[in-house]
């Protein structure tokens, strides 16, 4: 069969998926005008939710589609934040610094990728974490950061709180939308197909001529920039940069939780996982440590009894995966 013949057999998007997309677009439109009527608290919480969704989507891209299970994405959250602090210190306005700082973290991710992507799965998970710790130590040496004390991006205080809140909200909404759309385009394209082939069987992928390293590197760098942007947006709303918080392993724990509870390797799963995580935090967050202990137990229960996450509930009933990244071919020849 020639390529053209195969392409002719690819089914159009299922009606269910089209309905989901239309609903999502409508929801985005509502979210765009929401600040006009919602309270400041709601706007802040939604901003945080968008940031969580970005983290989940990026970690899923990495682990779910390229098979790269990283426990060290906090390296880029911290580095992006640090680069942002440094750029603002050098006189750059804070809002461009959000994105430029994240790009700087992407450069480090590109350099790191030559080293970490050659490791086996277990080594990769741990080495990325150790590198994040090593970078945290080095950032703490910077006199501007003052060790564990951290520093505040005071330039952000020059803006009126209302205007700052609204800007960060809209930036987060737009960035999240672009990121999800970008992930969609990437996964539906050549890179996505190659990455899924590598995840399922690296040797077989290599044998059909996929340059596995280049594909993994592309996804690793993109996902790292994505995590860094989400991190700098979070920093812009939190204002204070502290190495221990920004480089904390809890970010990776959150990402892992959201993605696996939602359904790893599915497009919609991590978004659902982020919503569940957000809801748990809103309902039980006041219980402090006991709430986090509960999150841990929820993670164990999901891992043991529902390893495919929330989306797994659909799949177990024999229904098709919503918004699948697989190409569906028609039966007739």
């Amino acid at each position: 069969m020639t390529k053209a013949q195969i392409v002719a057999h690819i089914l159009p998007m299922p009606a269910q998926d089209r309905r989901i997309l239309i609903a999502a677009l409508a929801l985005l439109a509502v979210l765009a005008v929401l600040p006009l009527m919602a309270s400041a608290l709601v706007v802040d919480k939604l901003t945080y939710l968008f940031i969580l969704i970005m983290f989940a989507a990026m970690w899923n891209l990495l682990a779910g589609y390229a098979g790269l299970v990283s426990v060290g994405q906090q390296a880029f959250i911290g580095l992006g934040g640090y680069a942002m602090v440094r750029m603002v210190e050098a006189g750059l306005p804070p809002f461009p610094a959000i994105f430029l700082g994240a790009l700087a973290a992407g450069v480090v991710a590109w350099i790191m990728s030559w080293f970490v992507l050659r490791m086996k799965a277990g080594e990769f998970a741990i080495a990325t974490w150790v590198i994040a710790e090593a970078i945290r130590s080095m950032v703490s040496f910077d006199p501007l950061i003052q060790g564990e004390t951290g520093t505040s991006i005071t330039a952000l205080n020059a803006y009126a709180p209302e205007m700052r809140r609204l800007t960060i909200y809209l930036l987060s909404l737009v960035t999240m939308t672009l990121m999800i759309w970008g992930a969609w385009a990437l996964l539906h394209g050549r890179t996505g197909a190659q990455a899924q082939a590598i995840r399922d069987d690296e040797e077989a992928a290599e044998s059909v001529g996929i340059t596995t390293f280049a594909v993994k590197q592309r996804i690793y760098v993109l996902a790292s920039i994505g995590c860094a942007v989400a991190g700098t947006l979070w920093l812009a709303s939190a204002i204070t940069f502290q190495p221990r918080t920004s480089f904390g392993v809890q970010w990776s724990v959150f990402m892992l939780f959201m993605v696996l509870v939602g359904g790893i390797g599915t497009f919609i799963g991590p978004i659902l996982g982020a919503l569940l995580f957000f809801a748990l935090q809103e309902i039980f967050g006041d219980f402090g440590a006991w709430y986090m202990a509960g999150v841990g137990i929820v993670a164990i229960l999901f891992a043991l009894y529902l390893p495919n996450g929330i989306v797994g509930l659909w799949l177990n009933k024999g229904r098709a995966e919503p918004l699948s990244m697989r190409k569906l071919l028609s039966q007739d020849r």
């Binding site: 299970v69 150790v130 006991w290 202990a293 999150v295 841990g296 137990i297």
Partner: protein
Amino acid sequence: MLEAIVQGVLLGGYYAVLAAGLSLMFGVVRFINLAHGDMAVLGAMIALWFVQGAGLHVAIAIALTLPLMGALGWLMQRMIFERALRGGFLIPILTTIGLGAALQNGMFGLFGSDTKSLGAYIGNLSWASWEIPGGIFIGQLPGYMFLTAILVLGAVHVLLTRTAFGRAVRATATDSEAAALCGVDARRVHRGAAAIAVALAGLAGIFLAMRAQVTPFAGPMLLIFAFEAVVIGGIGSLRGTLIGGIALGLAQSLGAMISPQFSLLAGHCVFLAVLAYRLMSGAAAGRGGWRATITALVFHKSMLRGKS
């Protein structure tokens, strides 16, 4: 300098005990337990509770804590890990990260956030020292801890090499299906290994509580140390773990001579360097060894592309 070296070596014994359980779980059960550090903290907290809450002598507290931790390991293998192992690579990671979060925050909820130490309950041991020729002082506590570490690791080594249980463990680690065909009950072996691993973690936690302070959230850092020691020493051998622990201890205590913050960074750097060296020598072996690679680089660049 010499004193830092001695201290580093002694510290290595503690790291080796911490790492041995992780290595055992990985080697025998093929299970990466990301809650290993939290188990160590749990061991320390239980011992502390026996001493502070129940008023027991430290030695009795330790004698009670270790079997308790072993039983806990057996139970966790039976109730959680066995099921998680069926789920491939990711499910154990999610399970043990969840377990870690539950343990950390549960301990925080039960015992509070204040740092705790056994240092006040072991008499003058925490500061007493021996002087050896050359004007070097060796802390008695680190000395005893190092000796205990050697004895315990030696005992585990004998257990693995000289007993029927050890043979079953090694057989299962090498080829669990073939072992099962010979009548070895892999599940029993795994539970036994998990019991030993968690008891070792508990011992490491008690060591930590004696030489410094413990907080409920110390686990992840301990896990990193354990991993570093395991990877530096090479997975699957107790002697390697001891060497890895000593290398890590040396790196940290020599790094601390530059500045206190540099201590951990030095350990991380040694770990990353060892990993990089292994990757590079692996890649070089794929091209026919270092010499062939360098020759090819210098003389015939095309040779590199020729082979793959």
